[in-house]
Symmetry: C2
Subunit: 136 residues, 2 copies
């Protein structure tokens, strides 16, 4: 069953990430949001959601917790007040830098070499996009 292999591998990946993120005070989805904002700069909630494949009903409470932690600010856009613009605080950017080493530490845990990691990543990304195109 491919489905269970995929499910349980993602599960194990989560478990492997947890001890790496726990010292930073981050959950895995928070880490993804922080990294996306650090990589792409300020974004709206929907833009971030398109990147992470998450809806506002998931992101809103997650982002509020990150705002309460002092890592980002949420402000209504002046031009279009329906949109909420997200920007990392200095503290958030500093945390993102500290978190930048985490994927390398995870890569070592996998026991795969760089080529294997790249191949697997591409296969999974293609599978994801076939199952669920971004913004669709």
């Amino acid at each position: 069953m491919l489905c269970f292999a995929l499910h349980s591998a993602a599960h194990a990946m989560h478990a492997a990430y947890a001890p790496l993120l726990e010292p930073l005070g981050l959950t895995y989805p928070q880490y993804l949001a922080l990294s996306a904002l650090a990589a792409r700069g300020d974004q709206t909630v929907s833009e971030l959601g398109a990147d992470l494949r998450l809806e506002s009903n998931t992101l809103t409470p997650l982002l509020k917790r990150m705002e309460a932690a002092g890592w980002l600010s949420r402000r209504r856009d002046d031009r279009d007040e329906r949109q909420v613009r997200l920007s990392l605080t200095d503290e958030g950017r500093a945390l993102a830098e500290r978190a930048a080493g985490v994927p390398r530490a995870f890569g070592e845990k996998t026991g795969l070499d760089l080529a294997e990691i790249t191949d697997l990543r591409d296969i999974l990304s293609a599978l994801r996009d076939r199952l669920k195109p971004a913004r669709g």
Copy 2:
């Protein structure tokens, strides 16, 4: 980033399964539990947890919902009353049969051929076991 590819592929897999399971009234974890019990026969909560890589704090409420739906029974073992034995009802077995076709329908959605599916499944299972050995 392998981690995001894995995370988002599992996410997309979930989304692809949902419309297949919804007519049966099953969530994805419930489908896994039902399939495991149908395949392996009666099990205790910990045995099922070892298969699915889940703890009792996750399984107990899930199994109670499935018991309330009439798909399985939970009974303390006579020999060792710490253990709870799970067995599918007739209704549960019938549902498991109806659900047996779901992986095939999912396989078609992936657009992969059988060899690709098998390869990917083995790679992911091996990765999972390296990250998090069963029962350990």
